[in-house]
Structures are given as C-alpha cells and as structure tokens.
Amino acid sequence: MAWQKRVLRVDLTKGTCNEEPLNMEWAMQYLGQRGLASRYLAEEIDPKVDALSPENKLIMVTGPLTGTTASTGGRYSVVTKSPLTGAIACSNSGGFIGAEMKNAGWDMFIFEGKSEKPVYLHVENLKAQLLSADELWGKSVWETDEILHNVHQDPLAKIACVGRSAEQGCLYSGVINDLHRAAGRSGVGTVMASKQLKAVVVRGNLGVGNIENPKAFLTATAEAKKVLAENAVTAEGLPQMGTQVLMNVINEVGAMPTRNFKEVQFEGAHKISAEAMHEPRESDGKPNLVTNAACFGCTIACGRISTVDPKHYTIENKPEYMGASGGLEYESAWSLGSDTGVDDLDALTYANFICNEDGFDPISFGATVAAAMELFETGAITLKDTGGIEMRFGSAEALTKAAELTATGEGFGRDLGLGSKRLCEKYGKPELSMTVKGQEFPAYDPRGVQGMGLAYATSNRGACHLRGYTVSSEIMGVPVKTDPLSTEGKPELVKGFQDATAAVDSTGLCTFTTFAWTLEDIAPQVDAACEGNWTPESLLEAGERIWNLERKFNLDAGLTKEDDTLPKRLLKDAAKTGPAKGAVNRLDEMLPAYYEARGWTEEGEPKPDTLKRLNV
C-alpha cells in the first residue's frame, strides 16, 4: 500500500475533474513518481506529438513514500514530453506540495487537453475544481502565490505555478512550488502554460495511511534516519555548506566548465563558492547565507536561504528583492557564474531570485547566456540583436539584464528563451551550443570526469547530472572511488547509477539520501510501506525497467543513436589546464560497451529479450 490509489484526471478542454483508481498493476512495476507517471504517459500519448499541443499531457505525481515519515519523503515529479528536447521529461521537486497532494488523498494529477482561458486547479482533499486564472495570467510566481493564498484565505495551502517566462514560451520554464522549489528542467512549466494552466493549489488533511506494516515501517525509517545522522555528508556537509561545497572541489579537479566550456577551471570560483556565501560582507556585516532549509520530512536540510547585498546595484530601489529567499545551489552558481565568467556572488544570487520569481531553469538559462556571450564575442550577434547589451563573458550587468528580459520574454529575452541549441542555430553557430538532445549541460566537464560524458550522452532527458551521477564515485569516492580520467568500467558504472537513480526517483525520496544510503537502506522502507516484496534487487530491476521504458518512448518519438553524443568541443578540443589537461571525453570508448551492458543493439535499441525480461 502507501499509495492513495487515487488519480485525479483533469480535462482542461472540457473543464472537468474526475477521480479514477490508480493502476496498481503498473504501480507494482514502476512504484510511483518518475516510473509510474512515465508508464501512464507512454500509454496515453503518441510520443511523436508536438510537446506544446493539447495532445501532450502533463502529470504531477507523488511516490509511495511521499507524505510519510520517511526522511526526505516529500518529493514529487512533473512528467510530460519536453518542448526543449522532444524527449520524455521528468522533473523532480521537493518543498511541501508533494506531501500535500498525498495528504489530500491523491497519488497523481493528470492534465490533458488545453483550456480556452487561463485556469488553475484547486484541490481541497477529495474536492477538485478548475477556477478562472484570468487575474493571474501575466503575474510572476511570487505574485501568483501571494494572490492565491489571499483568495483562498488559507496560509497552509501549497501552491505550484508557472511564471511569466512560461507564458511567453521560454522553452526551459519550470513549475515552481513553495516559492523557490522547482521541477526545473526540460521545460515542464512551458507545457503547463501551453495548456493555460497557471497554478495548482492543494490543501489536504486526510493523512497518509495505508502503510502495509506500520511497525516495520517505523523501525525501517528510524534506522535509515540514523544512517543519515551519522554520515558526515548528510549530517554535516550538506546542511552546513549545501551543494555549493562542490564549487572549489570541482574547480580543483579541473572539471569546472568555464565560459561556455572553453575552459575547465574558473579563476573566480572561490568568490562564488559555499565558503564565500559564509563570509560577512562589507556593507552590513552579514553573510550571503541566512540559513539552511529543509523540505517536507527531510533530516538533511541542504537548502540555501540567502540575501543579496543591500548595497548591490541589482536591488537598488527594489525592496521586493531585499528579503531572504532561495539561494544559490552549486548548479545555479556554476551556470550563472563560471559558465558566464561572472564572479559577482550578489549578481548570481539576484539572477537566481529572478529565475525563481518567474520560473525558469537557472542551469539552462545560465548556459544559454554563456552561449550568447560566445556568439557576441565571436561577432555572430551584435548589439542590434541583443538590444544594446554588451554580452561579454564576465559581465554581471549583462547576466542580470538577461535574467530580467528572459523572465518576461521581452527584447533579447525572447531569443534567450529559445535555449542554447536553438539560439546558436538561429545565429548560424550550432557548434557553440553545449547541449545534449537540446538540453544544456550541468556543472561537470566530461573531459575531467569521463563517466559523466557517457551519462550525459545517454541521459533520457538530455544533458543532466541527476540521471546518473557518477561524480559521486569518480570525484567523491561514494560508494567507491574510481579514476575520473579513465573510461575503464564506466559503462557499467553509468548503468548502475542510472538504474538505481530511476528507482529512487520513483519512491518519493530525495536522491541526496544516496550519499549515505544505498538501496539496502531504502528497500526496507519501501517494503514495509508497500504491498509486494521490495528488495535492493527488485528496486534495481524497477529502475532498469523505467530506464528502458523512457528509452523506448524517446525512440518512438524519433530520437536515435545519433542523439547519444556530445558537442564536438568536448570530443575534440582538449582541456587546457588542470589534471585533465590534454584530455577530451572518450565517449567512443564507452558507448558500445554501454549498449551491450544494457542489452541493447548496436543501434541503441533495447533488444526484444531485454524488454521481455523487464516486462516493458
């Protein structure tokens, strides 16, 4: 059990909300969240549909442990076909709305069709209705959140919504919940806006029961919390320094993509690092970091709450940005910072606020700005194209102006909203786009971390670190240390990380637990909560099933082996400094062995036996 066994189907074309039973046969194979919603999506849409057409569907989905007492059990995902990549998209978020959905009695909301006028979904336990969002359209995430809390006179309601960037068609807009948590990648918010769905408001107090063996569940979750509390990363490193602790580490190992991946080390890294976020500033003697923060049920609390320096140019006469809000994570600090060559911590924090305020992915945004800066510096675009902005590497002013324009889709912001791939194609320099399957890279240069090159090339949602985070092994030594500059054993390592992550992403738990937990710690929690026999092996098999289902969706959508690659810059232009000096990513050494390890043909297609073994 642990599932509520209830799906809310919202037909936006007809304006109806209907309850239906959860498909438990699928739940037993795909758990929840990423896996289960991907199963529904693969069943219900033609993978070839236009992602922004009414024929696409958007699924908000919890996992069986969402809303329970398991540590980090507050996760939810948004699953759809991506307008950025044309592949399947699954974006995972924390905060509180996932647990609220579950507490309201639902496992999943499926949105289909397209509303004639802007609407939002209001859910109060089992009562669900679509209401007019005429007054909300054109408002930011932060304004929408405030208005909806006031309209419903319910400070405890949990809200997920899209900002103005999504309304304007920015292809990497996310769905923001609880003001600054995000189902951020692959343009899931753009799909939501295309359906004229502005927000989802949820209030639930039914509780999350249905635990199959409550006593065993309490024991298993308590044991697992002890593991987190005794692990130096989850008990000390992440709460104190956040993911930003990696800034100096990754720079030191020479895997820090810099200035649109032209270099692999950033001379300004220390100025935008976790350590810098703790340093008191001159103006008011306070550090950038105000406090850490936790999502629902989390005993790690890695979140960052920050302020911009009150004397910084970005917030002069803008009191709305003077308070504390979601601060820089490693990924956003990298994309907004070293990838653009900007080492102004406050400019990055401000740009990150804008990404949250209007709901667009800071990774894709920063990487697109970096591409625009290279286009500008090589003369492919001019001041005429940028509306007068000097888009030069290292310019904080260019970065923050670009953020403001992308938020509203004005001027050059409309070009930036295309993402790096389409922007570089538009201006005749496709080779300058640092993307896989149209999605921008995250913060690890695959010339310095070989396994990540394979993980990026084969990720089912385009370049992404969260689909197979071999950095954990290659750099941090978790669970075992491997050589980041070697390709040996990487195909199997990547497959293992991909399958395990797909399983964790389907439970309702946070993937950051896996710096301390293995599937040996997770399986007893799932097994106690859910019907069926859940072991580390069956979880890993579920993960492999999910991976193959996603792959099959992508192949049916028209993607091929040719899409499992990296930009030429990473395959041909050697790293200039650091331990990886002289190295390129040796994808060709890894990809064939990876296909074989997966039970796929040389063309990258799952063999019939593989699909049969996994019951895909």
């Binding site: 130096a232 992440l238 990696l246 190992v253 220390h270 954990s472 941090m476 950051f512 331990p579």
Partner: protein, 69 residues
C-alpha cells in the same frame, strides 16, 4: 587556517621527505576527518598519504566528506 592564510588557502614550506599525514599532524587535523585529498587536483589514495610525495610548487587540497549535485 594557519596565520597568513587568505580565504581558505595558505603557502607552507615543508621538508623534502614530508608525507601528507605529516602535514595533517603539523596542523593538528585529525586523519579521520580528511576524506578527499587532492594533489594538484589529482586524488591521492589513503595508502599513499603516508609516504613522501611532494615536489616544489605542489598544491595540496583537503576536504572532509563532501557531496552535492
């Protein structure tokens, strides 16, 4: 951090036959708190931390267990 440090880095002088563990001892850094050890950005295995390893101008970086994403 020792006196004279700038931010999280400092310059130190060591004898030719110094090991990484000798450096930890000198600054009273408990061995078990040091997880990630990089010499010029390259990971040094725990068993290599007892033997002399340094050359002139090397950069040693030390971290407790860290992770992120």
């Amino acid at each position: 951090m020792p006196e004279g440090s700038v931010g999280n880095s400092t310059f130190i002088e060591i004898l030719a036959n110094t090991s990484i563990h000798d450096v930890l001892l000198r600054y009273e850094i408990p061995k078990d708190t040091v997880h990630l050890v990089l010499l010029n950005g390259i990971y040094i295995e725990p068993e290599e931390r007892e033997t002399p390893i340094f050359s002139e101008g090397d950069v040693l970086a030390l971290w407790p267990p860290v992770a992120g994403g």
